[in-house]
């Protein structure tokens, strides 16, 4: 069960990310990013993070990607053209990304024995549910950072309104 979930949705996430990289039109990239985010939500659920799986679907593939698609349609973004500067990026971009991937996966696989394996749902929800654990931590121990994020959101709303307003 765990292995099947990981293989199916991990492959879906990687395929979505590769499609995101290869598509020329921004709206196609945005929709393949939605595929990546929803498969990541299912992987979170298989790791025992039910609350984050729901929040991933609602916040990321719901709110954030709708905002992106809305801006793409508002600005009427067409196919991207390749300019002179993007050839240098090809020479640096692919080897750089491959080097980062090789380094990270070497470290993870060489430490693989020490890291252990996953059991479905995890040990997090043995006694109480995942959501009650998160909420007791968030509303008791981390109450001040949680309230500060509301001020951050308020400032972000004001900043977005001021920046996107038509100048007179």
């Amino acid at each position: 069960m765990q292995l099947a979930l990981f293989l199916i949705f991990g492959a879906l996430a990687v395929a979505g990310a590769i499609n995101f990289l290869l598509q020329k039109h921004p709206i196609n990239s945005a929709l393949s990013l939605v595929v990546v985010m929803i498969s990541l939500a299912i992987l979170y659920w298989s790791l025992g993070a039910e609350f984050l799986a729901a929040a991933q679907v609602i916040v990321y593939s719901g709110a954030v990607m709708v905002l992106f698609v809305f801006v793409i349609m508002l600005l009427n973004a067409g196919k991207e053209e390749h300019t002179h500067g993007s050839r240098a990026a090809y020479l640096v971009g692919f080897p750089g990304a491959a080097a980062i991937f090789c380094l990270l996966s070497f470290v993870f696989l060489s430490e693989g024995k020490a890291l252990g394996a996953v059991t479905l749902g995890g040990h997090l929800n043995d006694v109480v549910s995942n959501i009650s654990q998160i909420s007791s931590l968030l509303f008791r121990d981390l109450l001040l950072p949680f309230e500060v994020t509301s001020i951050l959101i308020l400032v972000a709303i004001l900043g977005a309104v001021v920046l996107a307003r038509k100048e007179r």
Binding site: Q2, F6, L43, L52, I153, V155
Partner: protein
């Protein structure tokens, strides 16, 4: 139940997603797509947070992912407003033509 998945596979999947995010950040020319590849990298990092939270049986990794989501949502709102302002003044979404600060 022999079909368990090693934690390191989840981390390698996150490394794949992060590297694709880095590659598309460097290769894409459209400013909206570049902004979306930042979101892809943030998602990859969130997956490592959840995997390690599972590994240590500790909830604080998931709370950290919650705060990353909050900050990413705020960042998306402000960043898209900046993109709209750039498009309004320069009439382009190509990053090569947004070169006012270039020497």
């Amino acid at each position: 139940m022999a079909t368990v998945v090693p934690i390191s596979w989840y981390l390698v999947l996150a490394a794949v997603l992060f590297s694709v995010g880095v590659a598309s950040f460097l290769l894409k020319r459209n400013i909206i797509t570049i902004f979306m590849s930042i979101e892809l990298m943030l998602n990859a990092v969130n997956l490592t947070f959840v995997a390690f939270s599972h590994l240590w049986n500790h909830i604080s990794g998931q709370v950290f992912v919650f705060f990353v989501m909050v900050v990413a949502a705020a960042e998306a709102a402000v960043g898209l407003a900046i993109i709209i302002a750039i498009f309004r003044t320069r009439q382009t979404l190509n990053v090569d033509q947004v070169n006012l600060l270039k020497l």
